[in-house]
């Protein structure tokens, strides 16, 4: 325990020291960060309160169904924290110099695990915790609960909930590596991926939000009359169910019933934590050795490079410099597990979204309320934008940082930095652009050809803007010493960029709401649909895109050009 506290003390000291010397510039920067985070938290609070008000007062979904929605949203949070912890743990447990250093010291493996686990958990979950806390605050004040419900629920509901997801992630990672030693990493990864895919599909099968919404909307606008659709008993075993149930019973005044779920959450989180420590005690060192073996196996280069698609030795029609940059980028991406594995996970989640959204036609066809149609259109559109933003923050933001300490080679070479960065940016932009266009088409084609076409154009503008902002911000907050792209994408700079993205989403709602609802009004009345408003909006988006992209990219290149 003494050793543990000693290490934690120095880690805290390191965090403070790494903030740099105190001066006016750093103070202003810190103040700016605090202001942005505060505005963001207030924004989430206001948005969540309005959504709660809308669902309960306008759509009148009733308390029961409202808490089913919370249950579904919490499942997404659970998966995000869980998968995030598996992926980030791989780097923090095994790939950091700190672990190499600690392993040479007389410290137990369980303690090393503990230090790195907390490091990992708070690093990768702090923004999510901020979002949930703001939502809890809006929930508290909407339902006139006492103010101290906020710290109590964050401490005894949300933290244990996230802790279960995090410890489960760490346990799964250790198990993967332990089992990989016997069966091979490929088989284990395929099995785990299949289990995750099946779990997600089963969750949506047992508690399908689409089925839920479809059933409920059969009773629209008298949704309060709906009570027939109950979830499968299997989902009652999930921690997100316990949180949703606890909130439901608290707001309906039955604290005793809620207490049972709080108790369950705390007990299970403690048990998971103890179990992770036990596994770490037995397996941490063994899995570290497995990691070393795997790294060594993976890095043994086959002598015959010519079979590789991106081999430098293959002839190419590209100019030498462009070829060198593109091939480097692709090789580094496919050989870095944290890059391709995260990409695969995100594509998997996007595919689930596409599958879900493709069956939403029932709702659109049956509902004739313009306001509701506008809302459905905007929610789907914003979700698309949110996915594009997630891809951008994960893969574009770390782009400059990933030049890494090898930057000496690029910076001392006779290169035009703007062309260099644009070449790199273009590779990722094209992938995100295609995903964005496919997403938009799949989720919009049921509205009308005209609206879909305009949405495609708007999505193109949005993709350019988000990619550019992430590039510029990534250059501004570049950290060439950080080798882990996931840590770069969840750094303070990335969080600020994410907050800007949220502001951009609000801007999109503001400029799209009136033209889209007017368009639906015109369609409903059978009058000739005027598209001029939609076109003006697209032009405005185009202008905003031009300004933001120019500023972000030119600033980004300028930052890249600074002393290193």
């Amino acid at each position: 325990m003494k050793v543990l506290l000693h290490i934690i003390k120095f880690k805290i000291l390191f965090v403070f020291k790494s903030q740099g010397n105190f001066n006016l510039s750093s103070a202003l920067k810190s103040l700016g960060v605090i202001i942005v985070y505060t505005i963001f938290a207030i924004g989430v609070y206001v948005l969540a309160k309005n959504i709660i008000g809308y669902l309960l007062e306008d759509v009148k979904i009733g308390m029961y169904l409202f808490h089913r929605f919370i249950f579904v949203v919490l499942f997404i949070f659970f998966m995000a924290v869980n998968i995030g912890n598996i992926v980030v743990s791989y780097s923090t447990f095994f790939k950091t110099k700190e672990v190499d250093f600690l392993l040479t010291k007389p410290i137990s493996f369980a303690k090393i695990f503990l230090i790195k686990f907390f490091d990992n958990f708070f690093y990768s979950s702090s923004t999510l915790l901020l979002i949930i806390s703001a939502v809890i605050a809006s929930y508290t004040f909407y339902f006139d609960l006492p103010w101290y419900f906020i710290p109590l629920s964050v401490s005894f509901l949300i933290l244990p909930f996230m802790f279960i997801a995090g410890t489960l992630g760490a346990i799964i990672l250790l198990v993967i590596l332990r089992v990989a030693a016997s069966f091979g990493i490929k088989k284990v990864l395929v099995t785990i991926a299949s289990v995750y895919a099946s779990a997600t599909i089963l969750f949506y099968y047992f508690s399908s939000p689409v089925k839920l919404v479809t059933k409920v909307f059969e009773y629209f606008p008298n949704i309060n009359n709906y009570f027939g659709f109950l979830e499968n008993p299997v989902v009652k075993l999930l921690p997100n169910h316990w949180v949703a149930e606890a909130l439901y019973w608290i707001t309906t005044g039955k604290i005793g019933a809620a207490g049972w779920y709080v108790y369950l959450l705390i007990i299970v989180s403690v048990l998971f934590f103890l179990f992770s420590l036990l596994i770490a005690k037995k397996w941490f060192y063994k899995t570290w050795l497995v990691f070393l073996n795997l790294s060594s196996e993976l890095s043994v280069k086959k002598k015959n490079n010519s079979n590789e698609i991106f081999s430098f030795e293959n002839n190419s029609s590209l100019k030498p410099r462009r070829e060198a940059l593109i091939k480097r980028e692709l090789l580094l991406f496919i050989r870095e597990p944290s890059q391709w594995s995260h990409f695969v996970v995100m594509i998997f989640l996007i595919s689930i979204f596409i599958l879900s959204i493709s069956s939403i036609d029932v709702i659109i066809l049956k509902s004739y309320d313009v306001y509701l149609k506008t809302l459905i259109y905007l929610v789907i559109y914003l979700f698309n934008v949110f996915l594009i933003a997630s891809l951008s923050i994960r893969f574009i933001f770390p782009l400059v940082s990933l030049e890494g300490e090898t930057i000496w080679k690029v910076r001392s070479a006779p290169l035009n930095y703007k062309k260099l960065m644009l070449t790199r940016l273009l590779i990722y932009f094209l992938v995100i652009f295609v995903i964005g266009q496919v997403l938009n088409f799949v989720s919009n084609y049921q509205f009308s050809i005209l609206l879909t076409a305009i949405s495609q154009l708007n999505t193109a503008f949005v993709t350019i803007t988000l990619v550019s902002i992430n590039f510029g911000m990534g250059a501004m907050f570049a950290n060439y010493k950080e080798r882990n792209p996931i840590r770069v994408a969840s750094s303070q700079g990335a969080s600020i960029t994410f907050l800007f993205t949220i502001i951009y989403l609000v801007f999109l709602i503001i400029i799209l709401f009136a033209p889209v609802s007017n368009y639906f009004y015109a369609m409903e009345r059978g009058s000739s649909t005027s598209i001029s408003q939609l076109i003006y909006t697209s032009l405005m988006l185009g202008a905003v895109t031009l300004i933001f992209s120019y500023l972000s990219i030119s600033k980004g290149v300028k930052y890249f050009n600074q002393d290193i």
């Binding site: 790294s295 060594s296 890095s299 043994v300 280069k301 002598k303 490079n305 430098f312 030795e313 002839n315 190419s316 100019k319 030498p320 410099r321 070829e323 060198a324 940059l325 091939k327 480097r328 090789l331 580094l332 050989r335 870095e336 890494g404 300490e405 090898t406 000496w408 080679k409 690029v410 910076r411 001392s412 070479a413 006779p414 290169l415 035009n416 080798r483 002393d563 290193i564």
Partner: protein
């Protein structure tokens, strides 16, 4: 080939390099000596364009590194003291990547890479990923990458760190050969023996200022005094 004029670099109030003037011609092998923190690496970073000078200029082959960076950098081969490489690429892939940055055509590049691999004796492990390399291996790959485009100026920061005696000999010979072929070499080193052995000119920097910059002959004359070798002279000047 290399002209430093009133070169100064400040970090806030701290002056890392203070008003350095220096000229190095083709074939010169310049040894740049100094204690830790004297300003050697900062000077090298300004020469290679990694830092922008606060005052003064760096001219390479007549091109100002700040005003004409592309022309100037195409003449430089830079070997840093800590040569970080892309860990997921093999040494050979890294060399191909570097050749591409200097626009060397594929056929020439293949030949040049094979030639350099042979010269530096790195064939045994050049096809392994660089994450497996020792410091010495990295150093040799960095040296190979700096020589691919036949640079007119080779800038080397502490070339012997991590090298075993055989590798050190290979590197010394290659650098000497490049100087004899007409390349100018600017080498920062802590190794006074190496400087004494292979440099034709020597400069000593202390607290950011050049305190000795002269031809080797003058150094030879100094040897006739109390300071019978470079080590003694260096210790005397930098104490």
């Amino acid at each position: 080939m290399l002209v430093l004029s009133n070169l100064t670099k400040k970090f806030g109030n701290f002056i890392a390099v203070n008003n350095i003037n220096l000229e190095i011609s083709e074939g010169d092998f310049f040894g740049f000596l100094g204690q830790n923190g004297a300003g050697k690496t900062t000077t090298i970073k300004m020469i290679t364009g990694l830092y922008a000078p606060t005052n003064g200029t760096v001219q390479i082959g007549g091109f100002d590194i700040q005003k004409n960076p592309i022309e100037a950098k195409s003449l430089i081969g830079y070997i840093p003291d800590q040569p970080f490489l892309y860990e997921k690429l093999t040494g050979r892939e890294f060399l191909y990547f570097c050749g591409g940055l200097y626009k060397i055509n594929k056929a020439n590049l293949k030949n040049k890479i094979e030639e350099t691999i042979e010269e530096l004796k790195i064939g045994e492990w050049v096809d392994k990923r660089t994450e497996e390399y020792s410091q010495g291996m990295r150093q040799r790959i960095a040296i190979a990458s700096a020589l691919l485009h036949n640079p007119k100026l080779i800038v080397v920061d502490e070339p012997m760190i991590g090298l075993d005696p055989q590798s050190a000999l290979v590197v010394k010979n290659i650098l000497k050969q490049k100087a004899s072929e007409g390349a100018a070499i600017f080498m920062s080193t802590h190794s006074l023996n190496v400087a004494e052995e292979i440099c034709s000119r020597i400069g000593i920097i202390k607290d950011g200022q050049m305190i000795l910059e002269d031809r080797k002959e003058i150094v030879e004359q100094i040897r006739g005094t109390d300071h019978h070798n470079l080590e003694s002279l260096f210790l005397h000047l930098t104490k």
